[in-house]
């Protein structure tokens, strides 16, 4: 007997707002989260702007912030988002003796979380001191001494990718299945999907699932710039994320944390939790093509979408809205459009599909779950978030991308897709909850 999986809580910290309500308000009113980079001096970088989380203070969110005092930006966003999601779902946090009636051994965590920022001051300084340009050799003695004098144990530990999940375990007391994955830009969609499968297979009653990531640091931005993945529209950061336009030139790097509380239907009913939506399908695939490019015929994306629909036991006619990966890169938006056409045939033109990245940027590991939350909001409000900055459509991309304004629509069933570097494809199908 397979368990049905429902969503009973949501939390979000992202460049548009530090909770779900303000983010949704931003999406509905055309705000965007972009501006010039403040987290480090990027003034001479090929890209000088990003989408940063603003005015987020963990001390205001938590009762015992000192338990998390060294945590990196990603972990702090995870904590903020989890606190909001748990509150909505009625899960008590920051207590050793919760009275919410939830068995902690049946409550787990699954995050698609990224690494923390490197200690770049120590990193760069040690190399400058130790590199001998004549011999093209590192003086390891100098490097080691400099590194030890500058790096701290706490900062080093907090860079590890499992630390966001570690902090959430402390926050919530979860003692069930704890996992953490990192499949590039598809990570938190995958985390939610895998977590849903664990509930469906009866291995947990509740999973705190989602993602957290910040790559807005000197090496992260450099890496994306060298791949020419980022927009370089330095004169207009606010309109730089423009998915599906002819003038798109890359994504805008964002950051954030996004958490959903997944629960078996029987657990949610027993607790009397409010059900926000149901997860009915998950599909995962790999392109197995190239680490540098998506498959030209969208092979992996198509397979993941078809697997998710099959897993959900529904047909293409049942999908009312597609929440795209929609990064605003030349390659993604073209191949994603092709994939939708291949899966949905002529019906592709009747399904609205939009990209909230046009407003909050690309949250990398956290992006899929952030967008999933917008899908739940679309179901709850019967309103679709738009693709902003869509004034010069790419003539080869001709689907209904919900340009520039939110739209009232009948939204029962939604498909959320995420694609990551290396050919990682993950797709979720969610539906308005019906008993």
């Amino acid at each position: 007997m397979k368990e049905r999986v429902v969503i009973t809580g949501m939390g979000l910290v992202c460049p548009l707002g530090n909770d779900v309500a303000s983010t949704w308000e931003g999406l509905m009113t055309g705000r965007n989260g972009m501006n010039y980079t403040t987290l480090f001096d990027a003034s001479t970088y090929p890209t000088t702007f990003d989408a940063e989380v603003k005015n987020f203070d963990l001390n205001k969110v938590l009762k015992y912030p000192q338990r998390h005092q060294h945590c990196n930006r990603g972990s702090s966003f995870a904590l903020g988002a989890a606190q909001e999601a748990c509150r909505q779902a009625g899960i008590e946090t920051e207590t050793d003796s919760p009275a919410d009636g939830i068995d902690r051994r049946r409550m787990g965590i699954y995050l698609g979380a990224g690494e923390g920022a490197m200690d770049s001051d120590a990193f760069f300084t040690a190399i400058v001191k130790a590199w001998n340009s004549q011999t093209q050799q590192m003086d390891w003695a100098v490097w080691t001494d400099t590194t030890f004098s500058m790096m701290s144990a706490e900062h080093e530990l907090e860079q590890e990718t499992n630390m966001p999940a570690a902090h959430l375990a402390v926050l919530t007391g979860a003692r069930g299945i704890i996992r953490s994955c990192l499949t590039a830009c598809a990570a938190s969609t995958q985390a939610v999907g895998e977590a849903a499968m664990l509930i469906r297979q009866g291995k947990a009653d509740i999973m705190i699932a989602g993602g957290a990531h910040s790559m807005i640091h000197p090496l992260g931005v450099m890496g994306f710039n060298r791949l020419t993945a980022l927009s370089t529209r330095n004169d207009s950061p606010w309109t730089a994320s423009r998915p599906f336009t002819a003038s798109r030139d890359g994504f805008v790097l964002g950051e954030g944390g996004a958490i959903v509380i997944l629960e078996s239907l029987s657990s949610a009913q027993k607790r009397g939790a409010k059900i926000l939506a149901e997860i009915i399908g998950f599909g995962s695939s790999s392109d197995a093509f190239r680490v540098t490019d998506m498959h030209e015929e969208a092979r992996g994306a198509v397979q993941a979408m078809r697997s998710a629909l099959q897993d959900a036991g529904i047909g293409i006619e049942d999908i009312d809205y597609i929440s795209t990966h929609g990064t605003s890169t030349a390659e993604n938006d073209s191949i994603e459009t092709l994939a939708i056409k291949k899966v949905f045939g002529p019906r592709a033109y009747q399904i609205p599909c939009s990209s909230p990245k046009s407003q909050f940027g690309h949250l990398i590991g956290a992006t899929g779950c952030a967008e999933l939350i917008t899908c739940v909001m679309a179901i709850q409000t019967q309103t679709l978030p738009p693709t902003m900055n869509l004034h010069d459509p790419d003539p080869t991309l001709d689907l209904d991308y919900v340009p520039n304004q939110p739209r009232k629509a009948r939204v029962e069933t939604v498909l959320k897709e995420s694609f990551g570097f290396g050919g990682q494809n993950n797709v979720l199908v969610i539906r308005r909850y019906r008993s």
């Binding site: 480090f40 001096d41 003034s43 001479t44 970088y45 090929p46 979380a113 690494e115 990193f123 760069f124 400058v128 590199w131 093209q136 050799q137 590192m138 390891w140 003695a141 080691t144 590194t147 790096m151 701290s152 144990a153 080093e156 530990l157 860079q159 590890e160 990718t161 999940a165 570690a166 375990a169 402390v170 003692r175 069930g176 704890i178 996992r179 953490s180 994955c181 990192l182 499949t183 590039a184 995958q190 469906r200 297979q201 000197p218 450099m222 890496g223 060298r226 791949l227 995962s284 695939s285 790999s286 392109d287 197995a288 190239r290 680490v291 540098t292 397979q303 570097f421 290396g422 050919g423």
Partner: protein
């Protein structure tokens, strides 16, 4: 639970004891140790100057001709993983695109991959020239880095170090198009990846899954990190082979290293249909979280005990039915003590009968790949009906009543438990069984 049974039809391993699982197994039984002075860089000023390093190899021997150009995008973590996956595929008898480009028979869309990876640190000499040109009067200058340093960094730099690239390169080489995940859950990542890979098969999303993990920790940044966290031993530099002493009274820290292990997991019917040799069966797995002091060391055994007990329950194995335990055994004294207490609690009166065989004294601690090497050894113990001796274990920790084997010997191994824990507090356990046609 699920009707589908998951079996293991091959293993592959690249470890400090050799480039194949066979070499690892022989080395373990013969009492060889893969730990020595660090060769990857000059560790002269490091408090810990020793590590477990994989013997020399030529990665071109493991990458099909058509894909050789991509080999330059592989960091060492990826290379080791590609080597272990190559063995796990060849030994399974599956014909992938890499084995026969013209006539592969692997059901690509029904094959998945679930792989553990660490946080990968970049190669310093590779990026150093770009950083060095960014200096102004001997100090790093961010503005100059933006103008003059960044344009000289190799364009695909980032792709070399993304954790999911281990799985992606293996997937491309063998044409694996089904579900793919990369577990980044610290030092229990491999246990989790193998469990999740098995679950992909149990729930019908795949018929075959390559599961395991790889990590190359002998990078100066990662070695510094373990020293700063005081998890490395600082006293073993003059006698590397005796330095890593899991559960020994004289242990004072771990020795880190590198490696990769891969298990070929397969739906039983699928394996039988193609007449594959079945080495072992996946019986169950679980994970949890433990309290930690400062997120580094275990504070108590609660989280580890939950994982172990739930894995046994899922496998329908009573503790006294275990024939072998391969523990995490890092040689960090406080952690070893808690792990020993947990195993003693779980085993109860069976503690005097069930052998506990820690491997890190010989293999070193390969971080997120450690569990994959343990699980590969567990499969080989089942297949060969043999277990080896606990290495560097002269006097067990005070009060430790676990049974540590003193010499390699034939042993009836039907059921094996592998368990682990991580900085950050995550814990995990996996149970493997000898394959028997009738399941109880």
């Amino acid at each position: 639970m699920s009707g589908r049974r998951v079996v293991i039809t091959a293993v592959g391993a690249a470890s400090p004891l050799g480039l194949t699982s066979g070499q690892m197994w022989e080395g373990l039984l013969q009492g060889r140790c893969g730990i020595g002075r660090i060769r990857a860089f000059d560790p002269v000023k490091m408090p810990c100057q020793i590590a477990g390093e994989v013997p020399e190899y030529n990665i071109r021997d493991y990458v099909p001709k058509a894909y050789r150009k991509a080999a330059k995008l592989m960091c060492r973590d990826i290379e080791l993983s590609v080597i272990a996956a190559d063995e796990a595929v060849r030994a399974s008898g599956l014909v992938t695109k890499a084995i026969d480009p013209e006539h592969p028979t692997l059901p690509s869309e029904r094959t998945g991959i679930d792989f553990a990876s660490g946080i990968i640190s970049c190669e310093l000499p590779e990026i150093a020239p770009s950083v060095a040109v960014s200096a102004e009067n001997g100090r790093f200058d961010m503005k100059k880095w933006g103008r003059e340093g960044i344009p000289t960094v190799t364009p695909l730099w980032l792709l070399k170090y993304l954790p999911n690239m281990l799985a992606c390169h293996i997937g491309i080489i063998h044409d694996i198009q089904g579900p793919s995940n990369t577990i980044t859950c610290g030092e229990v990542s491999s246990h989790i990846a193998v469990s999740e890979g098995a679950e992909m098969i149990q729930r019908g999303h795949a018929d075959i899954v390559l599961a395991g993990g790889g990590e190359a920790k002998v990078n100066p940044l990662l070695m510094v990190r373990q020293c700063l966290l005081k998890r490395s031993t600082f006293s073993g530099n003059h006698n590397p082979q005796a330095a890593c002493r899991p559960f020994d009274a004289k242990a004072d820290g771990s020795v880190f290293g590198e490696g990769a292990g891969v298990l070929t997991l397969e739906d039983l019917d699928c394996a039988r249909k193609r007449g594959a040799a079945i080495l072992a069966e996946y019986a169950g797995g679980a994970s949890s979280a433990a309290d930690t002091d400062d997120y580094i060391h275990l504070k108590n055994g609660e989280g580890l005990e939950i994982a172990v007990r739930q894995a046994l329950e899922e496998a329908r194995v009573r503790p006294e039915e275990l024939d072998l335990i391969i523990p995490h055994g890092t040689a960090i004294p406080s952690d070893d003590r808690i792990e020993a207490d947990v195993l003693q609690n779980v085993l109860g009166s069976a503690v005097s009968r069930v052998p506990v065989w820690p491997l890190k004294g010989q293999l070193s601690h390969a971080g997120s790949a450690a569990g994959a090497l343990d699980l590969a050894a567990a499969v080989l113990a089942i297949r060969n009906q043999t277990i080896g001796a606990a290495f560097n274990l002269e006097t067990p920790l005070d009060g430790c009543r676990l049974l540590f084997p003193k010499k390699s010997a034939a042993y009836p191994v039907r059921t094996v438990l592998c368990c682990g824990y991580s900085f950050g507090g995550q814990t995990a356990a996996v149970v493997l069984k000898r394959y028997e046609e009738k399941s109880e």
